[in-house]
């Protein structure tokens, strides 16, 4: 039974792979002449977006609404994990960090914050931005937790919850605030750069906490009371 199912999946898989390969192979030659090319449009409106890096412009302006929902996905995953962590009843106690870890954390955290800040600032002009910066900050938060310098995450207090939602809240607030101009997220060109920086700063903080939370909720600190 199981062998037959595998054979079926393998056969269908080979057929699908062949079809996909053929479709991809013949596309460039057969691309219809009316096909849209968004690249010139992205460049043409770049000066109205307040950022000079095209990917950041797509991410936070042209398709900023995707990013808003994506931040919601992350927040939701964190909440679902919080439910599971509660159900598992394994409290994430703040471990007493070893002295070496504590001094390492104290030394590294300023570097981490600086690197995150740089990536955030750089995102407007070149590769980088809130998500990459947040990943770096998350590493710092995990380090702090392992060193016992962060409060326990098992039942996050109100301030931590506020921090987790701050970036999303700012993003949502800006999106809704601009509705007065006629549409969600419709940045006025002269304020676009500043508003995007505001959103990205909030996101960096909250996503950093969220990514750290994904890690900390999932991983049990074994072998400690």
């Amino acid at each position: 039974m199981r062998g037959a199912a595998r054979l079926l999946v393998a056969t269908l898989g080979l057929a699908l792979a062949a079809a996909l390969t053929r479709a991809i192979g013949e596309l460039p030659a057969e691309r219809p002449s009316q096909a849209v090319d968004l690249r010139p449009q992205v460049v043409a409106h770049l000066d109205q977006t307040g950022v000079s890096h095209p990917v950041t412009a797509v991410l936070l302006d042209y398709r900023g609404y995707d990013t808003l929902l994506e931040v919601a996905v992350l927040a939701l995953a964190l909440i679902a994990l919080l439910v599971l962590a509660g159900a598992r009843d394994a409290r994430l106690c703040a471990p007493a960090g070893s002295p070496l870890l504590v001094s390492l954390a104290r030394g590294l955290v300023p570097v981490v914050v600086l690197t995150g800040g740089y990536l955030l600032w750089a995102g407007a002009h070149r590769p980088g931005g809130a998500f990459q910066a947040a990943a770096v900050l998350a590493a710092g938060a995990v380090l702090l937790q392992l060193a016992g310098l962060m409060p326990a995450w098992a039942s996050p207090g109100r301030w931590l919850r506020l921090g987790l939602m701050l970036g999303f809240g700012v993003f949502l607030g800006v999106a809704y605030g601009l509705l007065g101009r006629g549409a969600l997220l419709d940045y006025p060109p002269q304020w676009a750069g500043a508003l995007i920086l505001l959103i990205e700063t909030g996101l960096t903080l909250s996503l950093g906490l969220t990514l750290a939370g994904l890690f900390l909720f999932l991983t049990e600190r074994r072998g400690r009371p």
Binding site: A23, I24, Q34, R63, L68, L84, G86, L179, G180
Partner: protein, 482 residues
């Protein structure tokens, strides 16, 4: 304040996102009252949008002010508005119900983070119904899927974990297939906007990439809708989740997949999809018969209601071979979607009360319930009337229109399926009712149940029946698509 701030399309997405986030910040178990008030506001917004669409036709909201294909559009037509109205009204009733349900001592632990999760779920539904961009739809599908899976798992028991995992794996495979379709379409046409893609796909003979994309996307969406034979994940997930969650999942979440299939079928994939019509119809017929049969066999109340969802979803797909034949097939499908949404939410709400009162989820334990919980049992029966398709319910009108469309198309074969499905539904509904009217064994103990739970179930069931009397307005909404 400029009137723009009251824009219903934007409000229906921003408002639930805002209360979801606020409920999380407020803390465990909090935010229910806020959710109920906000959902009342959302109902008003959806009604406002419905009136607007009726009067001035479909609306487009260009997020960011760019407009497709560079930006993302939200679009609302009759189909959208109907789904939005269904989602807001069921969500409001479920919120009222859930406040009582999770206040109960036995469920308090499950409800700790229910409100933020429900907020994100409702936001995902509204965003999905409104989106006119294939990649944005992918993000809404993921948001919806993760919210639904997270809610199935809140109970924390091993069976719920297994059901949630099964659901998650299917959901991720399905979104992966959908995303591959989006990638092929972007590669071929340089856009993911529904409005821009339509003419591009219609021009010229279909390319392999287009057909493959359509097949992958539809297959993914069918798996998310739990159409037979992709249904195996549904009964455990819907059967094991807490009752308010089951109501949301069965009434709304699975409909989102169906809505997207319909939207793509009538929209950009229209030139490609027609040959698949009979196949979808056949799968729908198989779902009606197989789901009803399983509902007749199971020993658990909520599992019975979940199998009934598999069967009732089948009806929605019977319309695909009939869409081109002029009849009211589309109206039949939408009426069935709305009527089943209300009835199924009522049934799960009632089933939740029965499980709460008897302390177990088995049909055997129901003996004697009729005299203790007459309102709940009446609600269950009323919802059953809609599922069976008896007049004057919304289900009756839906099935009537479906049979009419089948005759017009000369496709008589679907008629016995519709009628047989109704008879089987009668059989499984009466299984529950008969057991409930038996005399209670002397040792039986019933837990007291908050009135609020019984009456919300009743209100939902009554709405599903009365829908048949107000169907004219709903059909007029669909006609506004023009």
């Amino acid at each position: 304040m400029p009137a723009a701030y009251a824009d219903p399309s934007a409000g229906l997405i921003v408002l639930p996102l805002a209360w979801a986030a606020a409920a999380f910040v407020l803390g465990p178990g909090r935010g229910g009252g806020m959710a109920v008030v906000a959902l009342m506001g959302q109902c008003a917004l959806a009604l406002g949008l419905a009136v607007g669409v009726m009067q001035t036709g479909p609306r487009v909201h260009a997020v960011g002010g760019w407009g497709a294909p560079l930006g993302i559009d939200l679009a609302a037509d009759g189909l959208t508005v109907l789904m939005l109205l269904l989602a807001q009204s069921v969500a409001l009733a479920v919120a009222v119900y859930a406040r009582g349900y999770f206040a109960d001592h036995a469920h308090r632990a499950q409800g700790l983070w229910f409100w933020p999760q429900m907020g994100f779920l409702v936001a995902a539904l509204n965003a999905l119904f409104l989106s006119a961009d294939l990649f944005n739809l992918y993000v809404t599908l993921e948001l919806l899927g993760l919210a639904a899976v997270g809610l199935v798992a809140v109970g924390g028991a091993a069976g719920q974990m297994a059901a949630a995992l099964r659901y998650l794996v299917v959901s991720l495979i399905a979104s992966g297939a959908y995303l591959m379709g989006v990638a092929l379409l972007y590669g071929a046409h340089g856009t993911v906007s529904l409005a821009t893609l339509g003419p591009l796909l219609a021009a010229g003979s279909p390319r392999l990439a287009d057909s493959l994309a359509a097949a992958l996307m539809l297959a993914g969406l069918l798996a998310k809708t739990a159409l037979f034979p992709f249904h195996a994940w549904l009964p455990p997930a819907h059967g094991r989740a807490p009752a308010p969650v089951s109501a949301l999942l069965s009434a709304l979440v699975v409909k989102a997949g169906f809505y997207l299939v319909l939207r793509l079928w009538l929209g950009p994939f229209a030139p490609l999809a027609a040959p698949a019509g009979p196949l979808l119809g056949a799968l729908g017929a198989a779902a009606v018969l197989f789901g009803s049969w399983q509902a007749l066999r199971t020993a658990h109340i909520k599992r019975l209601v979940a199998w009934s969802t598999v069967a009732q979803l089948g009806y929605l797909f019977l319309v695909f071979p009939l869409l081109d034949s002029g009849g009211q097939a589309l109206a039949a499908a939408m009426l069935q979607a709305v009527a089943h949404g209300l009835a199924k939410a009522a049934m799960f709400a009632a089933a939740g009360v029965l499980v709460l009162a008897t302390g177990r989820d088995t049909l055997d334990g129901l003996a004697g319930v009729a005299s203790r919980l007459p309102v709940t049992l009446f609600a269950f029966g009323l919802a059953g009337v809609t599922l069976m398709g008896l007049p004057p319910s919304g289900g009756f009108l839906a099935k009537w229109l479906l049979i009419d469309a089948a005759f017009r198309a000369g496709q008589w074969g679907w008629v016995p399926v519709v009628i047989g499905g109704g008879l089987l539904a009668a059989a499984y509904v009466f299984r529950v009712l008969r057991q409930a009217f038996l005399l209670a064994p002397p040792a039986a103990r019933f837990q007291p149940v908050p009135r609020r739970l019984e009456w919300t179930a009743f209100a939902l069931a009554a709405a599903s029946v009365l829908l048949g009397l107000r169907a004219g307005e709903l059909l007029a909404l669909l006609g506004a698509d023009g």
